[in-house]
């Protein structure tokens, strides 16, 4: 085969990037959500420690948790923790359930479905008041 023929026989260069498999991405997401939650825990213990300082100091800081931007970050936190919890259950089933490894991919789709089902009403209740005061004009 000539050099040109070899070149032509190769698959197109486009789309050769490794995209991983769902199990790899669930592992990546598990790490990222875990680290984010750990850093939040650090801040959260410090802010809660203000209850020991004075009611005013605590109330002042907790008010920032009710602002629209931080309220949105709380939705992100709940989403991250919920994914980490559900995927953690999946990891335990893979480790301890005899059929776990065989169904690991189906279990990933299942936990993502549960995540969506829980997050839809969750996001509604978390943001309802913020959206109402921002755009509803009331109270």
């Amino acid at each position: 085969m000539s050099a040109e023929a070899v070149e032509a026989a190769r698959p197109a260069r486009r789309g050769t990037m490794y995209r991983g498999v769902p199990g790899m991405w669930s592992w990546v997401a598990h790490r990222i959500t875990g680290v984010l939650t750990f850093f939040f825990l650090f801040a959260h213990v410090l802010d809660t420690a203000l209850v020991r300082v004075s009611p005013q100091a605590y109330n002042e800081v907790i008010e920032t948790y009710k602002t629209p931007l931080v309220n949105l970050l709380e939705v992100g936190l709940v989403g991250a923790v919920l994914f980490h919890a559900l995927n953690g259950i999946r990891v335990m089933l893979v480790d301890f359930w005899a059929k776990g490894p065989r169904y690991q991919k189906q279990m990933l789709w299942a936990i993502l479905a549960v995540w969506v089902v829980v997050m839809v009403p969750g996001v509604y209740f978390m943001l309802e008041r913020t959206v109402r005061t921002l755009f509803g004009g009331g109270s």
Partner: protein
């Protein structure tokens, strides 16, 4: 790293099965994780979603909850399990990604200091909180 088999034909293999800290850490992640599913998701549900969520939280709300030993115990268990579970996870991540021994060493020192600080402060606050501070 080269794999050195210590006396491969000896009937006992020392240090392989005994004192396996990584196995204990692996098992701890799963046991604490199971407890944290209940503790943390319950905490998030109560604090962020039910009955007005974060908008009803203030000092009085915390004082009301921590006047009950049940919620004190809930929060204390959650603090210890979450901090050690998260700290152990970060330890694994530092071991995976730190390239130099010195970087790995110092990152872990910072991690362990922060864990001791958070556990000590959180435990101190839960045990010494006075719900009648404002009256």
């Amino acid at each position: 790293m080269t794999l050195a088999l210590d006396k491969p034909r000896s009937p006992r293999r020392p240090s392989v099965r005994r004192n396996n800290l990584e196995l204990a850490s692996w098992l701890f992640m799963r046991i604490s994780g199971l407890a944290l599913v209940i503790l943390v998701l319950g905490h998030l549900l109560i604090m962020n979603i039910l009955d007005g969520g974060v908008h009803r939280i203030n000092w009085g709300f915390v004082a009301g909850r921590w006047s009950s030993p049940f919620w004190q115990f809930w929060d204390l268990s959650m603090l210890w399990l979450a901090e050690i579970h998260g700290g152990n996870g970060l330890r694994t991540i530092i071991n995976d990604y730190a390239r130099k021994d010195a970087t790995r060493f110092w990152l872990k020192i910072i991690l362990y200091v922060s864990m001791v600080l958070i556990l000590a402060l959180g435990t101190f606050v839960i045990f010494t909180f006075d719900p009648n501070m404002d009256s």
